[in-house]
Assembly symmetry: C2
Homo-oligomer: 231 residues x 2
DNA sequence: ACCTGAACACCGTTCAAGT
DNA sequence: ACCTGAACACCGTTCAAGT
């Protein structure tokens, strides 16, 4: 059913000419639908009712497509709120970035992949970082201190949650995983923590973690730590 | 030349029978050499002087290969130091994890990819986390507090530096990047920070960032923040 | 029963042929 | 000059044929 309407869309879109903006929007939509693995030049072209090579008129190669997508996403982050202290301004903006990231769960993957390829930040990311540095500077941070602050915040500035593992529910239990009692014997501290958190959560099924709460907890601990460095 | 000795290795290894351990070691070595992009089932088989399908006797599929590699890497992290306070113990272990990560720069990529695929942590990672939780518990953290602590530490527990972009030197300047003066006009706060850091670094060419210093700065700020939560 | 070559269904991108 | 189909060099994995 989704298949049929997508086909119709593709046929319809054949009329309107391709543009970089339309290519990027379609790429974001495609990744939103099926994850970043579902995003290939060939599938994107099909979605747009166009031959694969036609895309190369608007993006030089796939990496440039990914760059453009990142800029689209960073453009979705709210601008800084004026007339507040630095801590509130940073906090609100980071939480806005996090909402963007939750809307596009695949985004952190391509941003990190880009970073690991040692590519320079995209213009939109540079503008975002520049604005963030500006907030710290206006809040009284020296240049040296804001440098450390940017490193401390790291990818959390863009709303990354930097979990070590995803404990969200909905994971199908591994059929050949050891039984719970054996797990508890082998990893007693994890078991203690997991049972306490599960009990604590009450109605929440599966993982008892409130990811939003934990994110804000870590963010506030970090911001408070930075505030303590101010003269 | 490296090509020739690798070929000789491959021929020699044909004699000794394949084992899961040998497959994993060769995979780690291959990734160390050429990055994770250079690691394919086909190239790995060639390196081992074996037909690609022979690998599937020892790993069910590529994801299981990656899992095995992660366990090899986590096994390289030093065991916890006994007879110290929790903060020192955590600090030393995280710094050991970071040294492992610096030896294998591709490791964070596959660990994060695994996490994003919502796969359960590997046994070695579970054991590592269990041991870390144990250190916090012995240090007087309640179950609830250690839960928050694990979220706050996040992937930094494994030595991840969670930078937003890699400012290391050695990046070839983008030929169609805007000239420095235009960059400075467009991103004034980044320019101010960059010039101050570069001046500060003295002899260091390119990026003036001391990544190790910044990592420890962020780690200590986090640990101090956690210490302040203890009763 | 074990091993393995060919084949399948993809991928990003090049390039030459068609308009 | 523009557009595009076929082709190239890969990839992980299936499967049937060979020993």
């Amino acid at each position: 059913m989704a298949e049929i309407s997508r086909q119709a869309d593709a046929v319809h879109r054949t009329r309107t000419p391709l543009s970089r903006q339309r290519v990027l929007s379609a790429a974001v939509a495609l990744a939103d639908e099926g994850g970043v693995d579902a995003l290939s030049m060939r599938k994107l072209a099909q979605e747009l009712g166009v031959v694969p090579m036609a895309l190369y008129k608007h993006v030089a190669h796939k990496n440039e497509l990914l760059d453009g997508m990142i800029d689209v996403l960073v453009g979705e982050i709210d601008p800084p709120v004026a007339d507040t202290d630095w801590k509130t301004a940073v906090r609100l903006r980071v939480l806005s970035a996090r909402r963007m990231l939750l809307r596009h769960p695949w985004a952190s993957g391509i941003i990190e992949a880009r970073m690991k390829a040692r590519a320079a930040p995209t213009p939109a990311v540079l503008a975002y970082l520049d604005s963030m540095i500006g907030i710290f500077r206006a809040g009284g941070f020296s240049v040296g201190l804001v440098h450390h602050a940017m490193h401390v915040m790291g990818s959390r500035l863009l709303g990354f949650s930097q979990e070590l593992f995803d404990d969200a529910p909905g994971r199908e239990p591994d059929p050949d995983a050891p039984p719970p009692e054996e797990m508890a014997a082998r990893y007693p501290h994890i078991a203690e923590l997991a049972s306490a958190v599960a009990h604590d959560a009450g109605s929440v099924v599966g993982s008892g973690c409130d990811d939003q709460y934990e994110f804000e907890f870590a963010l506030d601990l970090t911001l408070d730590g930075l505030a303590r460095l101010l003269p």
